[in-house]
């Protein structure tokens, strides 16, 4: 059975970029169909604990990892709203030094003019209710970083998040069950639907077709979770197909569709691989209270290190604590006094995305410079925790001392010589795999997001970024998606 539909625009993916595109296109009066591989999870079924959220919201149950020698989890959601459903809603505009590089090195000044990006930032910040985390939602975990940074006179601040009246239940990673965080499932997707957009969830796009006899169009197959498993979907776009399926899956869809016209769809995959530090305090921290990511140390941002408080769920925290057996059980018993921070780094490493049949493989390994940056970030976070009064900090690096308790330990960590396999990396903030540029010799898509030489298919998500950002990319990728979508109407 084939379900057929048509609209002015078909948007593949309902995460930050797809929803931003839907906001622009429906706002301009165009008819829009959105297609999402994951399910639509109603608010009342969000916030159901780690296991439940892995199954309902995360791609591959949270088990999507890099191929190759190094196994790095690639954290992405697969649900209506995409990864905005399971992130903390932290918003940053593109750092000026990164934008300057995009303009000077990659020539994006005309494609993404500063004034247009700024207008989008302002609109997004207003509509998505971006604001600093309220003092009474900082929680013990955020306070640990705040106090450490204050004692060391480091630049730090409450995170700017997209939320309204956050209850501080530390459950952002499970999906906000009360709709306080303005993830796309609570903000731009309902808005687009109210403006007439139609949504097909539980449908995996298998290929997109460029302008021509059969296109532009998107074809997909309904997944087992739908009530229509195995049925096919074909949506004809009168104007264009907008691809916003993430830096992992947008290039894979283009490759499956035979639209890698330059050989640059897939390479240049980048991101912010992250490591984590735990701190053991003599006072209660209680990770299960406060905003999930309430505070950040920005002192080292220019160098590519950002330190963020991260209220991990207790079961994930337990697995992150060092040791096993009775020693681990004793540490778990004192979890109430453990703080946790994530350190995503602006890595120089480049990976690649490659689709083989229905499977997608991501190859990625941090470079030695990234390892040095991660060690620097870990050492700085240990320093912050010790300055805030922690009894010990656990950097979690294989082959190095389990805990850091003094200045000598911090310096030993900073100057350690280890390889990338010594870390438990987690990859978030993926981008770059369909790099935008004028030259087909060095880029995958043109300044309108089209694969070079292709008409009717536009990539608008973070895969068009020429470099990573060093900050949480949601706001920037939404602004980029809006600017590119405005060119379509």
């Amino acid at each position: 059975m084939t379900v057929a539909d048509d609209a002015d625009f078909v948007i593949v993916g309902t995460g930050a970029a797809g929803a931003a595109a839907a906001r622009v296109l429906t706002g301009a009066g165009a008819s829009v169909v959105m297609i999402e591989e994951g399910s639509e999870v109603p608010a009342g079924r969000l916030g159901g604990g780690t296991v439940d959220s892995l199954g309902r919201l995360m791609r591959d149950g949270g088990g999507q990892v890099t191929s190759g020698a190094l196994k790095i989890p690639l954290l992405q959601a697969a649900c209506v709203g995409g990864s905005t459903v399971v992130n903390s809603g932290i918003m940053w505009r593109i750092p000026p030094w990164i934008y300057d590089r995009w303009v000077e090195e990659f020539g994006l000044g005309e494609a993404l003019p500063a004034r247009e990006l700024d207008a989008c930032f302002e609109l997004l910040e207003r509509e998505l209710l971006v604001r600093p985390t309220a003092q009474d939602r900082i929680g013990g975990n955020g306070a640990a970083l705040r106090d450490g940074a204050a004692r060391l006179a480091w630049e730090a601040k409450p995170t700017d998040r997209s939320e309204q009246d956050c209850e501080g239940s530390a459950r952002c990673l499970e999906g906000c069950s009360n709709g306080r965080r303005q993830s796309m499932n609570f903000s731009y997707i309902p808005r687009a639907r109210a403006a007439g957009a139609r949504l097909y969830a539980d449908c995996r796009v298998t290929r997109v077709l460029p302008a021509g006899r059969d296109g532009p169009a998107a074809e997909g197959v309904f997944t087992a979770r739908s009530g229509n498993a195995g049925a096919r979907l074909r949506v004809r776009a009168r104007k264009a197909v907008v691809v916003a399926a993430s830096a992992v899956h947008s290039p894979a869809i283009l490759q499956r569709s035979g639209l890698d016209t330059t050989g640059h769809v897939g390479p240049n995959f980048q991101g912010h691989p992250g490591v984590a530090v735990l701190g053991l305090f003599d006072r209660p921290v209680r990770l299960w209270e406060g905003a999930t990511q309430s505070y950040e140390i920005t002192e080292f941002r220019r160098r590519g290190i950002k330190i963020e408080s991260l209220n991990l769920p207790p079961e994930v925290l337990a697995a992150r604590l060092p040791g096993t057996g009775a020693r681990l059980a004793a540490r778990v018993a004192e979890m109430e006094r453990v703080a946790a921070a994530a350190i995503p780094i602006r890595a120089v490493a480049r990976g690649s995305v490659r689709a083989y049949g229905p499977f997608t493989f991501v190859r990625y390994a941090p470079e030695p410079a990234d390892v040095a940056l991660a060690l620097d970030g870990l050492a700085s976070t240990c320093e912050a925790y010790l300055a805030a009064g922690a009894r010990a900090a656990f950097p979690g690096v294989y082959g190095l001392p389990e805990q850091v308790t003094d200045r000598a330990g911090i310096e030993a960590l900073r100057s350690a010589r280890v390889g990338p396999q010594a870390f438990n990396w987690v990859m978030t903030h993926m981008m770059g795999s369909c790099r935008m540029g004028a030259d087909p010799q060095t880029s995958a898509v043109d300044f309108r997001g089209r694969p070079h030489g292709v008409r009717g298919v536009h990539v608008v998500d973070s895969s068009v970024f020429p470099t990573n950002l060093g900050v949480n990319p949601q706001l920037t990728l939404m602004a980029v998606a809006m600017v590119l979508s405005q060119r379509l109407v």
Binding site: G44, R45, L46, G47, G48, G49, T50, V51, D52, L54, G55, R56, D60, G61, G62, G63, A69, L70, K71, R171, E174, S177, N178, W288, P314, E315, V316, A318, A319, G323, T324, G325, A326, L328, A329, V332, A333, M335, E336, Y398, Q421, N424
Partner: protein, 133 residues
């Protein structure tokens, strides 16, 4: 609910006892394990099930040179087995250990009594209303 053989649950319980002794290996283990496997999906769930069975059967031989199941060892030896797995010099072996540690901690800390004892908030039930009597 997933149909799990008692020998597999026994294997899992012995791993949980080795990794996080005294926490969450008892009551309601089958349903907590089943929910976790369902969350992982068929392929990754199968991978975990194989890892659980193989580890419980083979870790003592590989790590300690003892022909015994993990559950048949004393507590100290069990912990030693898993400790050697997690600190193994080969990266991929350590990753298997990490996978088992994550799975066991997650499954163990879903047990309401364990959470209560540790002072953790209860696991939310999304299919129930948050307020009301």
């Amino acid at each position: 609910m997933m149909n799990l053989h008692p020998s597999e649950l026994e294997a899992l319980a012995s791993l949980i006892e080795a990794i996080l002794p005294g926490m969450g290996a008892g009551e309601d283990l089958a349903s907590r394990y089943g929910r976790f496997l369902e969350a992982l999906g068929p392929a990754r769930g199968l991978g975990l099930r194989i890892a659980v069975r193989a580890s419980a059967a083979g870790l003592p031989a590989v790590m300690l040179g003892r022909w015994a199941r993990l559950g048949a060892l004393g507590q100290q030896e069990r912990e030693e087995c898993v400790s050697r797995l997690l600190s193994h010099r080969r990266y991929l072996v350590r990753q298997v250990g990490l996978l088992l540690k994550v799975a066991c901690c997650t499954i163990a800390l879903q047990e309401p009594r364990t959470r209560e004892r540790l002072g953790l908030p209860p696991v939310a039930r999304p299919d129930r209303p948050r307020g009301g009597a």
